[in-house]
């Protein structure tokens, strides 16, 4: 598959090609990530959108090479700085993880050690990756906390995670991710558990960061409206595959895949007040027992006989790909 976003001068920070991560469970092989390809450009934000079980989180974990048994990356490549992360040794990954690629999780309590002070955790992180004096590390930790909008960082350095509110804790987690000025941040639903006003604050900080530091971000979420305001590109995942991929305006204004179409229709604010919401019938199929051909066809209003075959990812409109035989082209004003 060719890079679909127009090639800019600089090569993308991360190129994922035909990534496959499968889980070998007793009940059978679960293809959680099945032939996923995308690019993340320098300083760009990619929104990876999907519902529970679509494989979006496993994609994030695969990039970090954090997939645990019985899961395994079984194919594909992830080119990062001229190196293929799929084939990198554990030693190489240890040098990259947290240093050049950082991850932010949904629940910051998962990232933070509850019995260590924030300064200990931040200084430890820095000293794990480079030779830096304790005082310099502390100074850098202080500056980073200030950068993500934590008031009076000097005092807060001495606090324990439980002394922070949920939003502040997430800021600390983001600060730790930023310590090494990584080239790429994988953020897995980092604002899902937060209140709307706090989510707004965090999103504003993230926007500033991407713009100022040139850090690339993969923002994993189920919430289309969050990525609408944040992302440059969107990849919509369904049942382990990318259903649709393109620039944010293209995907949201001219959704090609019936699944994207249905998702957008399900958002209450897109519907007339009081009218029934457009709904996708049925539910996400079990990955153990996917329908033959297009995994969405059992729920798809446009499904036809041809859908019993596996649809390939195809560039249906310029730089706008979808994995569908019968995409929504009428709305886009294009003859099929």
């Amino acid at each position: 598959m060719q890079p679909n976003i127009p090639a800019s001068a600089a090569p993308p920070t991360l190129q994922v090609r035909n990534l496959r991560t499968h889980f070998f469970t007793r009940a059978g092989v679960v293809p959680a990530v099945n032939d996923v390809s995308f690019n993340v450009g320098r300083g760009k934000v990619l929104g990876l959108v999907g519902e529970s079980g679509s494989g979006k989180t496993v994609t994030g974990f695969s990039i970090m090479r954090l997939v645990d048994e019985p899961g395994r990356i079984v194919g594909g490549e992830m080119l990062f700085g001229g190196r293929d992360l799929v084939r990198a040794s554990e030693e190489e990954m240890r040098a990259i993880r947290g240093n050049r690629i950082a991850m932010i999780f949904q629940d910051p309590m998962m990232t933070l050690n509850p019995v260590l002070r924030i300064d200990t955790q931040m200084i430890e992180t820095m000293q794990a990756h480079r030779k830096i004096s304790h005082d310099d590390a502390r100074q850098r930790a202080r500056d980073t906390l200030g950068m993500v909008g934590i008031p009076s960082p000097d005092e807060r350095l001495k606090a324990y995670p439980h002394q922070f509110s949920g939003g502040m804790r997430q800021r600390v987690a983001i600060a730790i991710a930023l310590l090494h000025e990584p080239e790429l941040i994988v953020a897995d639903e980092p604002t899902t558990a937060l209140d709307v006003t706090i989510q707004g604050q965090i999103l504003a900080e993230v926007q500033k960061l991407a713009a100022n530091t040139g850090t690339s971000i993969i923002w994993i979420t189920h919430d289309l409206s969050v990525v609408a305001g944040l992302a440059d590109d969107i990849a919509v995942m369904y049942a382990g595959k990318i259903a649709e991929y393109g620039a944010v305006d293209d995907v949201l204004d001219q959704p090609l895949h019936p699944y994207t179409h249905g998702l957008l229709g399900s958002v209450p604010s897109r519907n007339k007040r009081g009218q029934p919401l457009l709904q996708i019938p049925g539910m996400t199929p079990s990955l153990l027992n996917l329908p033959v051909g297009c995994p969405f066809r059992t729920r798809c209003p446009r499904a036809a006989e041809v859908c019993a075959q596996d649809p390939p990812m195809a560039e249906i409109l310029p730089a706008h790909e979808a994995r569908c035989f019968r995409p929504h082209l009428e709305e886009a004003g294009v003859a099929a």
Partner: protein, 354 residues
């Protein structure tokens, strides 16, 4: 479909619709008493005392028959506590709750039980509100059988009907909750609530844990049931999009107090209170691309130690001296539109802080 749109407006505007439930000056406090060691320490002069949280502080709320009232607020604002009091599963510390014109505490045993049955609640997490050891048929059938709404002979058919109404296939009634997906579990919760034939449902974040496509299915179910059964809802949610879609009237809470209350269109078009305005500005929208996210500064203060005066003043961009000392009253700024803000008293303001 016009009925769905027109009926609620009629209810929202016409003050003559029957009042189903009236909450008058209701407060709820939760106290953390000092333990034995704490009491001794306090006697010896340690700066310890009982800690009291004003979860709900002097709230008035009227819900008319057939209306859908959306109750919005961030975590810790007291919306769930208020919902529980309205549903009758938590007694208020102060104030009265009037059900169909009669004080709920003054009812005799028979009427009190009838009132309890009439108000049912649907919770956020169906896994923790459904007994994992009961089959679906038992979960749904237990209450109506006990309350004599059906007979043991007719129970099976009765449960089938409840399940069908909530969009569940009755062939699954011998299954346990863990064998269902999240959306189906929520439907079990809905079927259970409807099985006792209530008039009034309190939905506490009932779609918050569901995926968007499943959320749409459940919201559609709520709207269909409302029409079919002439239900009244108190719909509690932090999701303004969901509330806007479903509600006739919206009530916004902040730190235990109602700060604004108006018809849905009014709130979303002409929000009066600065908190409501910043809340609306913070909501991400699909239409807003690459937007600069508007930010309210600061966080919700601890309800253990709320700020004096207007609770919102430390975060409010328009706060002035009076806000720091005096609690603003919830005043009518337009017919059916109430707001709790001192700015509305400023003569040059015209009641619209910008």
């Amino acid at each position: 479909m016009s009925a769905t749109v027109d009926a609620p407006k009629a209810f929202a505007r016409g003050a003559d619709a029957e009042k189903l439930i009236e909450v008058v000056g209701v407060s709820r406090r939760f106290a953390k008493r000092l333990d034995f060691a704490g009491k001794i320490a306090a006697k010896l002069g340690a700066p310890l005392r009982d800690e009291v949280v004003h979860a709900v502080d002097n709230v008035d709320l009227t819900i008319r028959k057939g209306e859908v009232v959306g109750l919005v607020g961030e975590s810790g604002c007291g919306k769930s506590t208020l919902g529980r009091m309205v549903a009758g599963i938590l007694p208020p510390s102060d104030g009265t709750i009037i059900w169909k014109g009669r004080d709920r505490t003054g009812l005799n045993a028979k009427d009190a039980r009838a009132a309890m049955l009439q108000a049912q609640m649907i919770f956020q997490d169906p896994m923790s509100s459904l007994n994992p050891r009961l089959k679906v048929a038992e979960i749904i059938g237990e209450a109506p059988l006990y309350h004599g709404l059906t007979t043991r002979a007719g129970l099976s058919a009765y449960v089938d009907e409840q399940m069908r109404r909530a969009g569940l296939d009755p062939v699954f009634k011998a299954r346990y909750p863990h064998q269902f997906s999240g959306g189906q579990r929520q439907r079990i919760g809905i079927a259970r609530a409807l099985a006792v034939q209530p008039e009034f449902l309190v939905c506490d974040e009932s779609v918050a844990a569901l995926d968007v496509s499943i959320q749409a299915q459940v919201l559609n179910l709520f709207m269909r049931l409302r029409q079919e059964l002439n239900l009244t809802y108190l719909f509690i949610s932090h999701d303004l999009g969901v509330v806007e879609h479903l509600s006739d009237r919206v009530v916004i809470m902040y730190l235990g107090r109602v700060v604004e209350e108006a018809a849905t269109e009014t709130v979303f078009a002409r929000a009066n209170h600065p908190y409501t305005q910043s809340l609306l500005a913070a909501v991400p929208k699909i239409e807003a691309r690459k937007k600069a996210f508007a930010t309210v500064k600061g966080e919700i203060p601890s309800p253990l130690n709320p700020p004096a005066g207007c609770h919102f003043h430390p975060r409010c961009p328009h706060a002035f001296d009076r806000c720091r000392v005096e609690i603003p009253a919830l005043k009518e700024v337009a017919p059916g539109h109430r707001s709790r803000c001192h700015l509305n008293d400023l003569p040059d303001h015209g009641g619209m802080p910008v």
